[in-house]
Structure formats: structure tokens, C-alpha cells
């Protein structure tokens, strides 16, 4: 073959490939899912990893339970705030109030100043100072606990001057007792496994339902179904119930593994956990159903599910400490059902929440469910009309 022929054959190949590239780009631009993937996905990830996630969380809420109303309370408060790790959220004086705050999840740490603290301190009796931490997420508490001892010691040394300076000379003026609640050994899996229940459920429930209606519409079977006496709402319920069962099976599997393989303590009520789990499954199914009414094809439905899953994993408190995130990310996370469900699972499993403590988070999920069902039904009726 001569050179000219070779060149022209090569030119033809280039022309054909170019035709193919143009076609692909044109199709990609017309697909809203692809365009969203291209722009929104990287921006979302950058924002989350770049700004929202902080594995060394600061300004964690702390309560001081001052059973001895002394001047040292003020210096301890100031010292803890100065570390940057803590934000003194409340100073309470009722005995046991600190425990309630930590169980509720309102604060992560409680410093309990016992009665007669200042007297014992001045007398050099090394009074105890109790620090209680909600250690259910070890990553969130570890660094802060490391800083707490030094901060308190240096604050008190600063206060103990003149004749009392000798109290600080050899050893720490107080006996700092650190109590890690809910996960005393700091085992990460105790925190991760309950969280995984939330992630596994939302992943399968949302994605499966998102695909299910879209698949019927795409394959043309929906029209056939609706031409039969099946009512649209019957089709919807018939599609959702099997996934409800599937979710219950998943929950059972995760809980069995959690208990027998990972030995995660289960301190709360199992019926309560089952109840909130069914609620969460219902929310996820309603969300998936809403997605399926938005998406025109299965690919788009899949992409929508991914858009939902990414923040659910990263912002909900599953992968990274919730309190480490800036305000805007926390607000965003509050809108995700997974965030509330993770709190419920951890609260019930690790902290032994009862129904009254679970009520606020369960209430949010209920509101979400009602809103989503309303949207899903409205949109579904539009799709089939």
C-alpha cells in the first residue's frame, strides 16, 4: 500500500471516531443526570471533604455540673474554652443534671465539680474532678480528652498562688477522673456498626424503590398494569411492601452480626429499635418512590440515589463526627433522614434511650415521612396520567 492510501485510511478512521465522539458528547449534554454528575458531584465532594469533614472536631459542647459553687468554676470554664476543643454549653448545679444532658446528646462532655471542691483544693487534699465523656464515637472524643487534663491543671496552677502555690509544686492539684460513657474501651466498631444499619438500609431501600417504578415505565409494563383493574395506589403499595420485608430482613442480619460478631452492647429496648427502624425504612421507601417519579429512566434514578447516598454517608455522623462539621453542614445533615436515624440507633443501642428520649428524632422522621408520601403520591399521579 502506498503512503497516500495509508494516510487517507487513517483520515477516515479519525473522521469516524470524531463522529462517534460528537454523538457521545451530544447525548451526554442532553442527559440531565450526566450533566449533574459532571458539575455537582465534584463540587459536592469538595465542599464536604474540604470544609465539612473534620476528624479533629473542636468546640464540642460541654456542661459543667457545679455542685460546689466556687470561683474555680470560672477559671475551669475559661481554661476549657481556651483549648478550643470545648464550648461550655451550660453550667448546671443540680446533681445528676449533667448525666441527663449527656444521655440526651445535648452535650458531649460533663465536668462535675464535687461539693467541697474548693475547700479540699485549698487544703491540698487533691479533690476529685470528674470528667464524663460520651465516647460512643471515639474519634470525636479522643483528642479533646487528651487536652482536658493539661488545661485544668494549668488553670488551677494559675489560681493557686502565694501560700497555696506549694499545692501545685509536685503533682497535679486535683485528681482528674475520666469516665468514658457508652463505649468505655473506645472500640470504633461499637459506633460504626449501629451506623452501618442506617447506611445499609438507606442504600438498598432508596435505590431499589427508585428503580422499581422507573423500570416499569421504561419497559412499558406500567401501561399494561394500569390498563388492568389495578389502581395506581395499589401498584404503589404492592411495590413498596416487598421492600419493607426486605428492610426488616436486613435489619435482622445487621443486628445479629452486631451482637454475635462485633459484640456491640445493646442497652436499650429492642421493640423500640424495631419500631424506629420500620419508620426509617418507610421514609427511605417514600424517598425512593419520589425519585422514581422524577427520573425518566433507570440510569437517572440510579444517579439520583447516588446524590442522596453521598451526603448521607459523609454528613450524617456515620463516617465523621457530626459535631466536627461547620454549622451549614450540620444544617444540611439535619435534613437527611439518615442523620436522625443514626442518632436513634446509637441512642437506643449504646445509651439505652427510652421512648421519651427517642421521641424528638422519631418525630422528625415522622414529619419527613408525611412530607415525602405527599410528594410521592402527587408526582406519581402526574407520571401516570
Amino acid at each position: 500500500m502506498n503512503n497516500a492510501a495509508k494516510i487517507s485510511r487513517f483520515a477516515m478512521t479519525v473522521a469516524r471516531i470524531r463522529a462517534m465522539i460528537f454523538k457521545e458528547i451530544r447525548q451526554a449534554i442532553r442527559d440531565p443526570g450526566t450533566v449533574a454528575m459532571m458539575f455537582i458531584m465534584p463540587i459536592m465532594q469538595l465542599m464536604i471533604f474540604g470544609y465539612a469533614i473534620n476528624s479533629d472536631p473542636r468546640h464540642l459542647p460541654l456542661a459543667i455540673e457545679a455542685n460546689d459553687n466556687s470561683e474555680y468554676t470560672r477559671s475551669i470554664t475559661a481554661a476549657l474554652t481556651n483549648t478550643g476543643y470545648f464550648r461550655v454549653h451550660k453550667i448546671v448545679s443540680d446533681y445528676g443534671e449533667g448525666d441527663r444532658l449527656i444521655k440526651d446528646g445535648e452535650v458531649q462532655f460533663v465536668v462535675t465539680i464535687p461539693p467541697d471542691f474548693s475547700r479540699d483544693l485549698v487544703r491540698g487534699k487533691r479533690p476529685q474532678l470528674l470528667v464524663t465523656a460520651d465516647a460512643s464515637d471515639p474519634a470525636a472524643t479522643g483528642p479533646a480528652l487528651g487536652a482536658i487534663g493539661d488545661a485544668i491543671n494549668s488553670a488551677l496552677r494559675h489560681d493557686l498562688i502565694g501560700p497555696m502555690a506549694s499545692r501545685t509544686a509536685s503533682q497535679s492539684p486535683v485528681d482528674l477522673v475520666i469516665h468514658k460513657s457508652y463505649n468505655p474501651e473506645g472500640i470504633t466498631s461499637h459506633n460504626t456498626v449501629p451506623g452501618l444499619l442506617a447506611i445499609i438500609l438507606s442504600m438498598t431501600m432508596v435505590m431499589q424503590t427508585a428503580m422499581s417504578v422507573t423500570r416499569e415505565v421504561e419497559q412499558g409494563t406500567m401501561e399494561n398494569l394500569l390498563a388492568t383493574p389495578l389502581r395506581p395506589v395499589e401498584v404503589m403499595v404492592g411495590k413498596i411492601v416487598p421492600y419493607l420485608i426486605m428492610g426488616a430482613v436486613q435489619m435482622t442480619v445487621v443486628l445479629l452480626f452486631s451482637s454475635f460478631v462485633f459484640h456491640v452492647p445493646f442497652t436499650g429496648s429492642l421493640p423500640l429499635l424495631v419500631g424506629v427502624t420500620l419508620l426509617f425504612i418507610a421514609v427511605s421507601l417514600a424517598l425512593g418512590f419520589t425519585f422514581s417519579t422524577i427520573a425518566g429512566n433507570q440510569l437517572f434514578a440510579m444517579q439520583l440515589s447516588f446524590f442522596y447516598m453521598l451526603p448521607s454517608i459523609l454528613l450524617s455522623g456515620f463516617a465523621f463526627p457530626f459535631r466536627g462539621m461547620p454549622r451549614w453542614a450540620q444544617l444540611l445533615a439535619e435534613c437527611l433522614p439518615t442523620t436522625h436515624y443514626i442518632r436513634l440507633v446509637r441512642g437506643i443501642m449504646l445509651k439505652g434511650w427510652d421512648i421519651s428520649m427517642a421521641a424528638p428524632q422519631a418525630g422528625v422522621l415522622t414529619v419527613m415521612l408525611l412530607v415525602l408520601v405527599f410528594i410521592a403520591v402527587r408526582r406519581y399521579q402526574d407520571t401516570i396520567a
Binding site: Q219, T221, T228
Partner: protein
């Protein structure tokens, strides 16, 4: 006819986003009749069928299906209609038997198993009942879809282009079945593009751009068109179509094998129009075909829609 019509709709109109897809369509079909529903692609056939079977609600118009009001009794109507969608609407990942069982349960049929067995037997699918429906060839899929559509013994059968992409033998079998069903009293409304299928219907309705343009038996529709046709035979006759079509008095000219088929409204003008080729082409009168009528109708409608737009 003393019996009430199976389908009687008046002024059916449907708009999608400001575009009128079906424009004041009237249609009456008597029980036990097979009505062919014809028209170009996108003419509103499917939308009309979907309004009749209660899948979508018309924007305007009234009607009764089996004496039931089209708007208020949609669910009652659905139970007595069998609808075979254009696209295969059964589940590819269920077996043939499972598909039929599902449809039977949806209609709440009694003696489900014996009905399914009977349907499988009639279909000639008894030996393949456990095969996945998705693996069937086009012709078999269509048979299965028909079996599913008539499993609950509906009084009306709506078929949306049922034989698209099916071989001639399967088409003939299919039409034999349709005639059998009509003999037993079922009313059939079938949309199609095939002229031979239109001629197999008791009566036809032609719709274009959402407007009903012709209605009646094949002979009535041809007579009503007022068209006259000539067939030309001779060397190169089939190559004259483009030249002749532009001449006054000629509505259309189309080659058929080696012959040429020309039509026009005025027989005198038509004869004049082809006279220049008399030296090599022999012309003789012939009956206009249904296809001539429909293409002429479509062109006229197209002109009108262009003018009105």
C-alpha cells in the same frame, strides 16, 4: 341495529402541553364488530385507545363504553376491556405461566389454574409454559400478549399495532384468532399500518393529525374518497412517477413493480394528464386502493394543517 353500541364516544379531545393530539373524535363501534383504526404515525391513534380504555382522561368529550360513562366509570370499564399495548407489556423475567397467573389474579378470576391451562393450550405454549417471557420471539410474545389481554374474557378488545414486526404466517394466525373472538361476540378496535389488515376489518376509521377523516367499510371509504385510478403498463412506466405526479389533475402517482398507478379526483383530467406517454404506455382504469385513499387523505390533511398553522 337494536343493540347499544359497545363503544360510543363524541368529541374526544386530548392536549399535551398545548398541542392537540386528538381533536374532537367521534367513534361508534357496534358489538361483535372489528374496527380497524388507521392513520399515520403520531396521528393520535394510541391516545384515542388510551382514552377509551380509561388510562387517560380526555380534556373534552363524552362517551360510553359498554354503556358505562367514560369519565365516571373508568375502573368499571377497565375490568371489561382487554388492552394490548404497542410495546410488549408483560414481564420478561417471569415465565409464560407466571405472567398469565399474575394477570388472572389482577382481574380476580375464579378457576385461575384451569383458565391459565386452557389459555396455554390454545396458544400452543403448554410445553413452553415455564420459559421466560423475555426469551420469546416477536411472534410468540405477541401471541402471549393477546392471550393475557383476553384471559378475563373482556367484551371489548383494544389492540395497538399488534402485528408490528411479526412475520406473515403469524399475522394470519393472529387475525384468524381475532375473527374467532369477534364471532363469539367480542368487539375489537385495532390500530394498524397495514392495508391488508385494514381490509380484514368489518369497518375502518382513519385519523390523521388528531382528526377523524374517514369512516365506514372499505368499499364505503373508497367510494367516498371520489378518487379514480389508472394503471399504466409499458417499458419504463414505473419510472414516470415523479414526472406525472406534478401534472394538473394527478393527486398521486406511485410505481407498483413494473407498472405505474396514478390517481386523481377528476377522471377526464387524469386521462388528459397521462396522455403524453400514450405512445409507450397502455393505460387502463382500475379501482383505487385503500392505500391510495389514505395517502390522499393524509396529504390533504397535511396541507390543511400547514395552512392552519
Amino acid at each position: 341495529m337494536s343493540e347499544a353500541p359497545a363503544i360510543a364516544v363524541r368529541g374526544l379531545t386530548k392536549r399535551f402541553g398545548g398541542r392537540t393530539v386528538v381533536d374532537h373524535v367521534d367513534l361508534i363501534v357496534q358489538p361483535g364488530r372489528i374496527c380497524g383504526f388507521l392513520g399515520p404515525n403520531g396521528s393520535g391513534k394510541t391516545t384515542t385507545l388510551r382514552m377509551i380504555c380509561g388510562l387517560i382522561i380526555p380534556d373534552e368529550g363524552e362517551g360510553e363504553v359498554l354503556g358505562l360513562n367514560l369519565r365516571s366509570r373508568r375502573n368499571a370499564i377497565k375490568g371489561q376491556i382487554g388492552y394490548m399495548t404497542q410495546k410488549f407489556g408483560l414481564f420478561g423475567d417471569l415465565t409464560i405461566r407466571e405472567n398469565l397467573q399474575f394477570i388472572g389474579r389482577v382481574y380476580g378470576l375464579d378457576r385461575l389454574e384451569s383458565r391459565v391451562d386452557a389459555a396455554l393450550e390454545k396458544l400452543g405454549l403448554a410445553s413452553r409454559a415455564d420459559q421466560m417471557a423475555g426469551k420469546l420471539s416477536g411472534g410468540w410474545k405477541q401471541r402471549l400478549a393477546l392471550a393475557a389481554a383476553v384471559l378475563h374474557e373482556p367484551r371489548i378488545l383494544l389492540l395497538d399495532e399488534p402485528t408490528a414486526g411479526v412475520d406473515p404466517q403469524a399475522r394470519r394466525d393472529f387475525w384468524d384468532q381475532i375473527h374467532g373472538l369477534a364471532r363469539d361476540g367480542m368487539t375489537v378496535l385495532v390500530s394498524t399500518h397495514y392495508m391488508d389488515e385494514a381490509e380484514r376489518c368489518h369497518e375502518i376509521a382513519y385519523i390523521a393529525y388528531g382528526v377523524m377523516l374517514a369512516r365506514g367499510t372499505t368499499a364505503e371509504v373508497i367510494a367516498a374518497s371520489g378518487l379514480h385510478a389508472l394503471q399504466g403498463e409499458g417499458p419504463g412506466a414505473d419510472r414516470l412517477a415523479a414526472e406525472i405526479e406534478g401534472r394538473p389533475g394527478v393527486a398521486m402517482a406511485a410505481p407498483f413493480g413494473t407498472t405505474l398507478h396514478v390517481c386523481g379526483l377528476d377522471p377526464e383530467a387524469l386521462r388528459e394528464a397521462v396522455r403524453p406517454w400514450d405512445d409507450r404506455v397502455r393505460w387502463h382504469e382500475t379501482a383505487p386502493t385503500l392505500e391510495d385513499v389514505f395517502i390522499n387523505l393524509m396529504r390533504t390533511a397535511e396541507d390543511n394543517s400547514v395552512i392552519s398553522a
